[in-house]
Structures are given as structure tokens and as C-alpha cells.
Amino acid sequence: MSKNRPSDFGSFWYTVGKELAEIPVAPEVESIPMRSTDFADLYGVRLSSIGPYRLFGYLSIPKGDGPFPVIYYVPKNASVLEIIPQGTSNEIRSRYITFSLACRGMRNSDSPYAAMYPGQLTDGLESHETYVYRGIVADTVRGADYIMTRPEVDKNRVAAWGNDNAILAAALHDSITHIVSTPAYLFDPIESLSKTDSYPLAEFGDYIRSNPSNSDMARSILEYFNLRWHAQSITANTLIMADHEDGIYSTETLSDLKELIPGEITLHGSERSSFKDGLFAENWITSEMFGKEVSPIVPEHWR
């Protein structure tokens, strides 16, 4: 395990937050009729993050009277921005406000910076100031800022859903009440390299192998993003979706993370089935948001 929490960890993130606060969100909202249905309206949203940098997101709002709970699909380590994740029942848009955000580098937020995949995780890793993930975390937080400006939002039910960035969003923005996270690359990233040659973690391995003289600097920079050091800030109710027992981020590996998060937490080990794991997550979020008596909205083949 990593033991190297940066001594200026708090001031590093305070500075990012301060920088973000000085940039207006400046949202521009445009209706997308083609993706609107008889139960939800879809909008394209442009907003500003540090830089300043303009980002794009998809906002879906249920028809009818709110307020509605929110699922915020945080930015991914992948090029494509989805309205809702592939395979999710489109009908969930009748129950939740959904907001998916492309961080800098992803499609729709790729001007002037177009990330490569693999590539995004090590761009600018030469220094604290140039590492692109500092901006990506700011973008993730900015998405939560924007959500909270919407009058349709039930502020007591705001879930961040995704990979590592879901945890970072909740750690750095106190509006997040729930987390569904599948950690993939930011929990003790350097220590996890020995377990895999697979991407995305392998990006860090490629970088260190090719830049041995900068490896100490890279390791120290990544500690600012290590979920281990963010965990103690989380008060949201949390579902961690772990790998199966042979995976990189198994329940055993993530048991440390579980212990460090002071909020209520469920750690689910993968059953090696996207159906079973997906159903578990849908049941969890529905129970948390609506109570145990309400059934989740799931795809036809999961019923």
C-alpha cells in the first residue's frame, strides 16, 4: 500500500477549488429533440471549468413535476460521452435527472485538447502544474456545481456514478449524497502496476518505463489523486463495485478503501457477470433513493 500522502495535499486541492470558484459556470443549454422522449427531455449543456475550458454534457430531465433525484455520470477514461451508460434502460430517464459530462479531452470536450486513449492518464505527468488530471478532476467537480444550479434537482438525492472520478467528485464536492464507483486506476496506482499489463493502469507503467528519470516525480504527483487520501472526506452513502477475487481491484484490495471511508459503505465483489453486477447496482441505488419497496427500472432481459 501507498504510505505517501503529500504533505501539501489539502492546499493542493484547496487551490484547485479556489481556481474553479473564480471561473463562472456560464452554462449554455440547448434542447436536443431527437433524443427527447415522451417521458424525458434531453439537453446539451456547455459549461466552463478551469483554464478556462469549455466542457459538454448531456442533461436529461424527466417530464412532470420535480424535484427529481440525480444520477451524475462522471467523466470517464474513454473517448466517448454517452447519454446514459450502454445497456442502461432508457426508461430510467423517467425517474432520474441524468447528467453525463465529458471532461477535457473526451469527445465533445476535445477542443483545444483532444486526449488519446490510451494517453489521457499520463498527459503532462512531468509536473504538478501540467498534469492533465488536475483539470479533469476540476471538470468533474464543476459538473456537480452545475447540477446544483438546476431547480428540478432534489438536493437530498444526488448520486455520482462511474469509475474513480465518482469518488473524487464526492470527496471534493459536498453535494454528492450517494456514490456508485468501480475503481479502475487511482487506488494505489503505482503499487497496483505489478498486478497487470492491461490498460488503463498500464498507461502508468508505459510512462515510468519510458521516463525512468521522471518516475519519482510521476509517483509523487499521482499521490494527489490516490483514492486512499481522498477517502476520509467522503460522507456519502457509497457502493464500491470491486473486481472478482482474481482481479486487480478485488474486495480484498479495496478493503482498505472501505475502512477509510467514514460514510456508510457497501463493497460488492464482482460475480463475473455484467447482469448480476448491474442488477446489484440498480437494486442498491433504487433502494437508497426510493426505499426498498420500489422496484428498479432495468432492461427487458434483466426482468
Binding site: 431527437m34 433524443r35 446514459i84 450502454q86 432508457n90 488519446m116
Partner: protein, 307 residues
């Protein structure tokens, strides 16, 4: 919900299907492939050499790919083409190279590194130009994958008699069309095949990416007949009877993206006498990957293993 293994999709193969694709492939053949294959030191390891690849495809679109080979090898290597999912970023196939394959992971048009000339976006790719078979996005997209076989055939280290194709989801669909159209493919392994039974899929499930078609039809209700006509030329089920090589297909019976009914309908139409279907109950779109990856390894070893 229990899927019907005898489900028949509504798609009808057009009478001029073969001549349509013969014309397309003839046009493709007249375009100089102009391969660029440059070693990428950053992504290479001690054991695996990784190359960044570009080549020309239909409409003179420059298509990219990742090519990985074992750094040390003797004799010819079996060639493998890995075809990508709909919205996933094509991976660097180091894992396949580690198993002894010369592996091309192709990035068809519109995907990352192949989007400077054509980029309908996501959502968008599935319905781009869908009112006409000659403008539909997948006309070129399919060709980009098929051209990947030409890349492998061009490589000195690849044994042209031992070439296979594999992928899952959209990669499963591309595996079907590539195996159907390229006789050089000696074995194929398709997982959770997408792009098969489109018009049934949009009724059987309401999840993206198939939901893109429902979005389109809701906005363009008068185009339904044209959409159906176009898709009949691109449906994997229309290609299936052309497949003659050994092939395995795996489906998840709780697949929430590519309905298992369409997987059954596809499999039943495959022309190869050497075909096998693996059905995974209790599994979704990953289609039993944890169990099935070993089966794919053994299948490829059986058909490509011996020089």
C-alpha cells in the same frame, strides 16, 4: 425472460445483396492501401513490439490501428484481427501478442485516431446516412475492418494461411461480416454480436446504442421503410450464410445490449458446417467472458496453432 432459441428475425436478405457488396469491395480494391506501420517505443515492452498503423480505406479515409507482435519469434506467426466494440476505444493488443499472435487491433472510421475525416459521433454513428445503403456509415466502417485483413496479409511475419478474427459486441458483428467477406479468414470467434437483427433488437430492448434507431425513427417516422431497406444490406444475418470457416459464437442470455434472440437468429443462419454456439445463462453483455475467453484461446490454437 427466457429468449427463444428458434427466434427468427424479420430481416430479409436483398436479392442484390451480393452484387451490392461486390461493387463496394471492387471500389475498395481500387484504392491504394498505402500502409504506414511505425514502431511505438512508448507502448512497446521488452517482450512485445507495438506499432502504430495507418492505411487507406473506402472513400480514401485514413484508418488507424495498433499492431502488436512478440519481439522475439522464429518462423511465421498466426495473424489475428481484433475488432472493437461500438463505443470502446480500440485496445493495444499486447495480451494477444503475448500469446504468440501477430495481432492488429483496427480502429474503423470515426473512432479515436481515425476521426479526422469522418466523425458522426456517439450517439450518431448507428444512424448516420441510414436512408441510403450507399451513404450509410457502416458501408465504409465494414470496409475498414475488412482492410485490416489486407494489412495482415502484407506483413512478412504473418502466415497468410493462419489468419483469424475475433471481437465482442460490435466486434462480434464485425467478426461476422469479416468472416463472411474475406476468404482468407480461417477461423472466427464472435461474442455478443451487435449489428445483427437491428429491427428486431429495437423492439426487444430499449437501451443504447440500438436506441439510437428508435430516436431516429421517432424524429423521422416517414423514413422507416428506407431504414429497413438500408439495414437489410448491413445486417449480420444477411451476411451469415457466406461464412464457411470454423466459427464459435457466445451470447449472454440476459444481454441488455444485444438481445440474445438476435444472437440465436444469427447463429442459425451461419453457413459454416463447423460452428458452435455457447449460451451463458446468468450473464449479460459480457456473454460469459470470464469462462469463454479460455474457449476462444483453445479454438484459435486448434485452428491456427500449427504452422
Amino acid at each position: 425472460m427466457v429468449p427463444d432459441p428458434n427466434y427468427i428475425c424479420s430481416v430479409e436478405k436483398p436479392e442484390d445483396f451480393d452484387s451490392f457488396w461486390e461493387d463496394v469491395t471492387k471500389t475498395l480494391g481500387n484504392i491504394d492501401i498505402d500502409i504506414s506501420c511505425v514502431l511505438d517505443d512508448f507502448r512497446s515492452t521488452e517482450d512485445i513490439s507495438v506499432y502504430e498503423v495507418f492505411f487507406n480505406s473506402l472513400d480514401n479515409i485514413r484508418v488507424s490501428g495498433w499492431y502488436a507482435v512478440p519481439s522475439k519469434h522464429s518462423g511465421k506467426l498466426p495473424g489475428l484481427m481484433l475488432v472493437p466494440g461500438y463505443q470502446s476505444d480500440p485496445p493495444i493488443p499486447r495480451e494477444w501478442a503475448k500469446k504468440g499472435y501477430a495481432c492488429l487491433s483496427v480502429n474503423p472510421r470515426g473512432k479515436v485516431r481515425s476521426r479526422s475525416q469522418f466523425d458522426p459521433g456517439y450517439p450518431g454513428l448507428l444512424t448516420y446516412g441510414i436512408v441510403d445503403r450507399n451513404t450509410y456509415s457502416y458501408r465504409g466502417f465494414y470496409c475498414d475492418a475488412w482492410r485490416g485483413i489486407d494489412f495482415l496479409l502484407d506483413r512478412d511475419e504473418v502466415d497468410s494461411e493462419r489468419i483469424a478474427v475475433t471481437g465482442s459486441s460490435q466486434g462480434g458483428g464485425l467478426t461476422i461480416t469479416t468472416a463472411a467477406m474475406r476468404k482468407e479468414v480461417k477461423a472466427a470467434a464472435a461474442g455478443a454480436p451487435y449489428l445483427c437483427g437491428y429491427m428486431d433488437a429495437i423492439e426487444l430492448t430499449h437501451t443504447y446504442p440500438y436506441e439510437e434507431i428508435n430516436d431516429y425513427l421517432r424524429s423521422n417516422p416517414g423514413s422507416r421503410k428506407r431504414v429497413e431497406d438500408t439495414l437489410s444490406y448491413f445486417d449480420g444475418i444477411s451476411f451469415a450464410d457466406r461464412i464457411k470457416c470454423p466459427i464459435i459464437v457466445n451470447i449472454g442470455l440476459q444481454d441488455n445490449v444485444c438481445p440474445p434472440e438476435t444472437g440465436y437468429a444469427l447463429f442459425n443462419q451461419i453457413g459454416s458446417k463447423n460452428k458452435k454456439l455457447y449460451e451463458y445463462d446468468g450473464h449479460g453483455h459480457e456473454a460469459g467472458r470470464y469462462i469463454h475467453s479460455r474457449i476462444v484461446d483453445e479454438f484459435l490454437e486448434e485452428h491456427l496453432g500449427q504452422e
